[in-house]
Each structure stands twice: as C-alpha cells, then as structure tokens.
C-alpha cells in the first residue's frame, strides 16, 4: 500500500460539504499529491447525510479504502456513519459550540479537536466560512502547508473578488492557529508532504465532456439526470467556445432525437443519460442503428431498476446496452475504466461511430463519473487526439456511389459493411433515411433478398471492426498467474490496488480489465490457460460473467456487489481470496 492518507468531511446536504471537500482535494493536488475522491450522497437537496472523502498519497491512488485518518464532523451522524473506518489515532474535528454537536462523544483512542468553527468564521468575516476554518484546522493536524490551501481558495473564490479570498484565507488561519494554541500538547502523526508535481484533478463526467470537445463534438442534447448531468454542465459554457451547442431537451426522447437530427446533418453529436433515460431512448436507438447514423450515447450507470437508487453505484445496465431495442442491432459498447479513460474512450467513441456509422454506447458508472482523480496533464494530451470521420463523400466523389439514374446510395452494399456518407447540402446526395428496411438508396423495401443483404451488411460492420480495431483488454498483475480476475468499468482501479493486499497474503492474480464490451475480445485462450476465473462487477446477477461464459463456453466464479457502494480495495481482496479458495465444505459443484 502506498503511504496514503484519508480525510473526509461529512454533514447534512446543504452544509457545503461538496465544495469544501473539493477545495481541500484541489489544495492537495496543487501541492503535488495524488488524490482520489469519493462522494456519499443522498437523493435530496437539503438534509440527509452526505460526505466527501479524499484519499491522498504521493503515489498514484486508484480507489477508496475502509480507513479515515481525519474527519471533519459537522453532525453527530458523521461520526456514527464512519465509525467502522475510524481507528485509534484518528482525528475528529468538530464544533462543540454547535447545538447538535454539544454532547458528542469522541470514541476511545481517537483525538477530538473541538474547534469553534462558526465563531472563528464570524471573526474572519462570516459564519459561512466555518468549513474553511475546519480546513485550516485539518492542515494543522496533518502538517500540511496551508499555502496550498490559499491557492485553492483563490481558484475557488477569485472570480468573486480579492476580499472574499482574503477572508477565506484568514478563516483558514484562525482554524490553524486555534489548533496550534489549544492543542499544543498533541503531536500529530500525519505529515502530508508536498512534491513539485503538477497534477490536474477532475471527475469522469468532466473527462467525458472534455473528450467530446477534443473529438470535435459540436452538438449535445440531454435531459438532467443523476449522475450524468455533470457532462451537460461541463459542456455548457465550454463547447460554445469551439463552435458547438448544448440543448436541454424536454425529455430523453427529445434528447436522443435532437442528437440524431444533428448527427444526420453531419455534426459529431452526443447525448448522455443514466439507466431510466436509456430505457426512454431505446426506440430511437433502433432508428439510429438502422439509418446508420453515427451517434455517441453515454450511460452513466446508477442503481436500478426503475428509479432505483439514483445517487448510488451499480453496473446493472450492461444487458440493456448489449441487447436493448427490438430486433437485432449492431452497436458498439465501450466502457472506460478510469477517469482519464473516460476522456480517451469518448474520443474513440466518436471515431468508431463515424467509421462504422453506428450508435456507440459509452458505458460509464457513477463511481467513476463523480470520482475526482489526479493525473499528469499529459494524460489528456490533446496532440495525441485523432479524428477519423470515416467514408464521407463530397461533390467530387459522390458519383462513385450513385445509381445510373443519379440516386445516391447511402446504404450501398459494400464488402466491409460501411457505406458512403453524404452530409446534407452535398450536391447529388439527397436521400432518405429510415427505420424501415430499405434498399441501397434508403428507400423502403420488403424485398426478401434485400432485407437479408441489408441486415448482413449492417452486421458485417462488427466483423470489420474486429479485424481493424484493437479490442484488447488492459492487463495488470502477474501475467503468469493461474488465477484470472476479469472486470470492467470503474472496478479496475480498485482491483489494481487490491493486488497489493493479495500479495500480502501470497496470492497472485492476473487481471484483465475489458473496456470493449461489444464487440469484445475473445478471452477463450486466457480462460483456458487459467485454473480459476473470477469475474468482478457491481451488479447482482453477473451480467458480464454471463456474457463471457457464453463466449468461452467456460464457467466462471463471480464476485458481485450491488448494495449501492463501489468496491473497496481491501474488501475486494478478501472477496477474491475467498472466491479463489472457499472455506472447506462450502465448495459447490458447478
């Protein structure tokens, strides 16, 4: 394990938990430390327990763990909720003057720092800054250079004037000094050293938005839904600088249809939603596929079915993305595994969509979408972005794709299954697109031979993609190990960290993280070479496990989590250990 440190602030929604947590996370990032944040939030605007957790290290951190070293507790419940993660020596910062915190009891062995957050904030210019006072106190308890906090405060409040920045700096100082003076007898164990590294800190939704702009996406239509809304929020106000536009549609049905319209007009176009929205979009998804329109559809998965748990993690929409829609529909399902991959896979999604003229699902999940992580800025190297628009024809080349009477063939039967594409406005390209079965010119047909030819043509694109694209999984751990652990989506980082826990127990594993869910890599050889195959995913039934069992004709073991919380590295290591070598007497014949 890296020498990491875990900090959290918790209270009621509306207490400014999120922004305070982010200020601290940014300060750490600016101090050259790696950061991984996670949020525990309820589906309500005010009230209800909410927390923002920050894990930090001078080395890369990829997941959350069950440990808290410093906790800012704005309510008694904050302590109760985190009791399991607190340990001997954990520091709890609280305001004993706050009515609800007056009788709070600090668990044995832990260090309680009673700091009058509100009154100190008032001294600095306003009670609203009490969380910043707590941040100052946290800096003192962790020997963290408070100047990095200043820099984060300036970034946060700079637009609102220097006075506000100064007041906040002062509030932080008062918190720091209070701890220095009142708790001078305590020697804090923690030491958040700084480095010269420059990191960027962002979450998966932001990375998806950034990837879209980098890929030349000009049009986004969406309808607000947790946890996908941040994609729209990010794009709005930024995409316009690159000649693009964001529309907030009246519903998800309109969103995908607006996006489809823009895509037909030739724009790189995208929509993002979460499970319930994907349900609503599914009818039009079929039209997108049949009309062979390139479109990127982001599904930031949350707990389902129905409204489920909107603010909780799950990877339960895989079957929906693989099979959703009536009839048989060729598609791509691409699943980023980390925040930086959210960026790159979005770029790739646009290229796949246009090269193969198909809809592409980008399968993200809540744990990745709302999680902020630090990266070297060149993890988002814009110079490495490439745009491939596929087979677009213009006035000069359109003649090669016309019938003798001059009709354009947008669904030309080609060897690779990909037809020419003419943007509206191209002379000689006027044509009809339809969800009805059609001939090469896009005209409705019920001709049995043409039906088969068009179905085969569309499906051929999948084979072409298998030949031309690299759908390899990402690999970690011991390549020689007989224990194969397979996963997808945001579990990758947790699994990579779980390796270290497993090593401590002398268990070696080989990890395959699969970012392409359809078309996907053939894992038969890997499965056959392994003694044990375990598939890790955040759903109850093992949707991906089912799929790979079908692909490889080999039974796999499963580790599933579906309580709404993402895997934690230490816990996942235990689960894998137990699954690989179940207690005697518990083994069940497959």
């Amino acid at each position: 394990m890296p020498a990491d440190f875990n900090w959290a602030i918790g209270g009621e929604a509306g207490d400014g938990i999120d922004s305070t947590g982010k200020i601290f996370a940014q300060a750490l990032s600016r101090a050259g430390r790696h950061v991984f944040t996670s949020k525990d939030f309820a589906s309500r605007i005010r009230g209800g327990y909410t927390a923002y957790k920050v894990r930090t290290s001078t080395e890369k951190v990829r997941s959350v763990v069950d440990r808290l070293d410093v906790l800012v507790a704005l309510t008694p419940r904050t302590i109760e909720e985190n009791l399991d993660e607190l340990h001997e020596g954990s520091v709890i910062i609280y305001d004993g003057e706050r009515t609800t915190m007056a009788d709070v009891e600090i668990p044995d062995g832990m260090i309680g720092l009673d700091v009058p957050l509100k009154s100190l904030a008032e001294d600095a210019g306003g009670a609203i800054m009490r969380n910043v006072v707590a941040l100052g106190a946290a800096c003192e308890a962790t020997n963290f250079d408070i100047e990095h906090l200043d820099s984060s405060l300036k970034k946060r409040f700079g637009d609102k004037g220097q006075a506000l920045v100064d007041n906040n700096k002062q509030a932080a100082r008062l918190g720091q000094e209070y701890v220095q003076e009142e708790y001078s007898d305590i020697e804090f164990d923690y030491d958040l050293e700084t480095t010269d590294n420059d990191y960027v800190l962002l979450n998966g939704d932001e990375a998806i938005g950034m990837g879209a702009i980098a890929a030349g996406c000009k049009y986004y239509a969406g309808y607000p839904i947790t946890p996908a809304t941040d994609v729209m929020t990010y794009l709005k106000g930024r995409i316009e600088n690159f000649g693009g536009h964001v529309v907030q549609a009246e519903d998800e049905l309109a969103a995908i249809n607006l996006a489809l319209g823009a895509a037909r007009a030739g724009a790189r176009s995208m929509t993002a939603t979460s499970g319930p929205g994907i349900d609503l979009m599914t009818e039009t998804f079929g039209l997108v596929a049949t009309s062979e329109t390139p479109l990127v559809i982001v599904d930031v998965m949350r707990s389902g079915p129905s409204t489920g748990m909107p603010t909780k993690q799950e990877q339960g929409d895989l079957n929906m993305m693989l099979y959703g829609g009536h009839g048989e529909i060729p598609r791509f399902v691409v699943a980023p595994t980390t925040v930086d991959e959210c960026f790159w896979k979005t770029v790739e999604a646009f290229n796949l969509a246009e090269k193969y003229q198909t809809p592409v699902y980008l399968a993200a999940d809540l744990a990745m979408a709302v999680t902020e992580q630090t990266f070297e800025p060149d993890a988002f190297d814009m110079d490495a972005v490439e745009i491939d628009r596929g087979k677009v024809v213009d006035e000069d080349t359109i003649g090669e794709h016309q019938t003798e009477s001059g009709g354009f063939k947008p669904h030309e039967l080609t060897e690779d299954g990909v037809s020419p594409r003419a943007f509206p406005g191209t002379e000689g390209g006027a044509h009809m697109s339809t969800g009805l079965e059609h001939d090469e010119q896009g005209r409705r047909t019920e001709d049995t031979e043409m039906r088969v030819k068009q179905v085969d043509k569309r499906n051929r694109k999948v084979e072409t993609a298998r030949e031309r694209e690299d759908f390899s999984p990402r690999e970690f751990g011991d390549p020689e190990s007989d224990n194969l652990v397979v996963t997808w989506g945001s579990n990758e980082g947790t699994l990579v960290e779980a390796l270290e826990f497993l090593e401590e127990e002398d268990i070696d594993v080989r990890i395959l993280s699969v970012p392409y869910l359809f078309p996907r890599p053939d894992l038969t050889e890997e499965f056959e070479a392994a003694d044990e195959v375990v598939v890790v995913e955040c759903n109850a039934t093992g949707q991906f496990a089912d799929v790979v069992e079908h692909d490889t004709l080999q039974r796999v073991k499963r580790v599933n989590k579906y309580n709404g919380v993402q895997f934690k590295a230490d816990e996942l290591a235990d689960d894998i250990k137990e699954t690989l070598a179940p207690d005697e007497g518990q083994e069940v014949e497959a």
Binding site: S29, R30, Y199, V200, L201, L202, E206, M210, I213, A214, A215, G216, K218, Y219, A221, F242, H245, V247, E250, D251, L253, A254, A255, N257, L258, A259, L260, G261, A262, A263, R264, A265, G266, A267, R268, S269, E283, T284, L287, S291, P377, F380, M382, D383, A384, V385, E386, I387, S405, F423, P424, G425, A430, H431, M432, S433, T434, G435, R443, R444
Partner: protein
C-alpha cells in the same frame, strides 16, 4: 441551381401508396411547390417525417430526409436545423403523430422556435392502423375502438400552439391547392417555427370530416379584414367553437428564431482539424 428548380424536382420516383383521393396528395404537392417557390432545391432541403400515412411523405419526396419514430419528428428537425442552419428544414406529421404521442414535443418545439416549418396532415382519424379515433376526432365520432365516440373533447392544436407561445400559426385545406401552397410558403418564410395544420381528409375511414364538410364550412381569413399580427384577435379565432378558419391565424412579426437567439450560424458538419481543436489544452489547464 435554385433558379431552375421546379417542384417536380422534389418528387421521388416512388409512387405513393396513399388511398386514391387521400388528402395527403394535395398536402404534399403544396409542400413541394412551396419549397421550390421559396428558392430551395432537394440538396439543401431536409424533410423529417413521423410515422403513419403522413410519415410516408419522406419517401415520396426527393430531398435529404429522415423518417423518424412515431411522434418524435420535431426534435429531429430541430437537431438538423441547429447543426446546419443553411438547410431548409420541413417537418411533416399527422394528427396522431403530432398531437398524441408527440404532443409534448409539439409544445416544446413551439417554445423553442427553431426556424423550420411544421406541416400536420390532420384527417381526424388514425388511417394506417385502419380507423381508430385520433386526438382531433370529434367527441361523438364512432370508430372501432370508440364505438360510442371518444367522449372527450378533441385537442385544439391551434389554441395549444398559441398558448405555448407560437410565433406562426396557420391552417389550410389540402384541396384548396393555391391557398395551401401559399400558406405553407408563408410558414417557410417565417423566421421561426412555422406551424400549419392542414385538413387532409381520409376518404377511407372518416365520413364526417370530408372534403365537402371542409369546403362548405371553412372560413378563409383572406376574405376578411383579419389582422394576423393581433394576438387578442388570434385568441378569439382559435377558441371559436362555431367556426373553423383557413389562413394565417397568428404571426409574430418580431419573432426571432432559436438560431438567431443562440447565435447558431455555422454548419457543424465542418471539422477543420484532424486532431483536437485549437485551444483544447486550455480545457485541461482549467483543472490544475
């Protein structure tokens, strides 16, 4: 090219499968003539159609076109126009498509005011599914699924449009070819969402709202001193339970299209860079 365009250039080589005598023939001819007369050609025109008899129009016309899913033609049209404001976008639908399954989109398309025209072929019945009540069917109109009539008032599309903030509301009759064509032309020329409800009789299933009925009952506003820019007058007309009108019922001369309001003036299909756009690295720097 536009100077030589004739309306027949908008005809495809597919023969319509509409029933002989269907109102949709006249509706479509008027649309093609209006497009040609407003200086458009098939390569700069985008027609969006929904599902049902009306939805077949994209097949019978020659232009860039999409045949959408049921009720969702309007957002598709808006997406096309926003992404390429140089295109002339025309959306066609039926009363079921527009006022039943697509009613939500109708209200919001009106509010959004994208510069496109929306032609609804209103025959007050579901034709392609063989004669069920539609949202504009009369309260006592007996059909296979409503043997005693729908027993609920019909949707009033004109009033719905006005209440939603429409900037152009018109009604025409497919059989009055010249007036219909003229009205659609005005809808095209309107800067914003040009809505035209067209009475387009179903000769097979609707024996109430017939050619004769409309011919005898429609009041042509062109024959009166009606001022379509007067919103109060428009309110009275669209809520008039005793008469049905033909012509432009309301036009907001101050209308600014969505594209104007949002500064959309470029063709988004153009990507002039092979990698990330210039300045993209600033997006990364923001996260320091």
């Amino acid at each position: 090219m536009s100077s030589q365009v004739r309306f027949t250039d908008f005809k495809s080589d597919k023969q319509p499968t509409w029933c002989p005598g269907c109102g949709d023939f006249g509706t479509m001819n008027g649309m093609m003539k209006a497009l040609a007369e407003t200086g458009n050609d098939p390569d700069n025109t985008f027609v969006v159609a929904g599902i049902g008899c009306s939805g077949k129009i994209g097949t019978y016309m020659h232009s860039y076109a999409i045949h959408g899913v049921h009720g969702r033609a309007l957002p598709v049209g808006a997406g096309v126009k926003m992404a390429n404001p140089d295109l002339e976008v025309m959306v066609a639908g039926g009363d079921g498509d527009g006022y039943s399954i697509g009613a939500g989109h109708f209200v919001h398309a009106v509010r959004r005011n994208v510069d496109m025209s929306y032609v609804v072929m209103d025959n007050r019945i579901y034709g392609l599914t063989k004669g069920q009540a539609s949202p504009t069917s009369r309260e006592d109109f007996e059909t296979s699924t409503t043997p005693e009539g729908p027993q609920q008032p019909p949707v009033n599309p004109l009033a719905l449009a006005l209440a939603s903030g429409a900037t152009f509301i018109a009604q025409s009759f497919s059989s009055d070819a010249l007036r219909h064509q003229e009205i659609v032309k005005q809808a095209i020329e309107h800067d914003g969402f040009g809505f035209v409800n067209v009475f387009s009789p179903c000769v097979t299933f609707n024996d109430v709202d017939t050619y004769d009925y409309f011919r005898d009952s429609l009041v042509d506003l062109a024959d009166t001193d009606y001022d379509p820019t007067d919103r109060e007058a428009a309110k009275e007309k669209v809520l008039d339970a005793d008469k049905e009108y033909m012509g432009v019922l309301y036009q907001d001369e101050e209308s600014r299209s969505y594209e104007q309001t949002h500064g959309l003036d470029s063709n988004m299909s153009d990507i002039d860079h092979e990698g990330a756009p210039e300045g993209a690295m600033d997006l990364v720097r923001e996260f320091y």
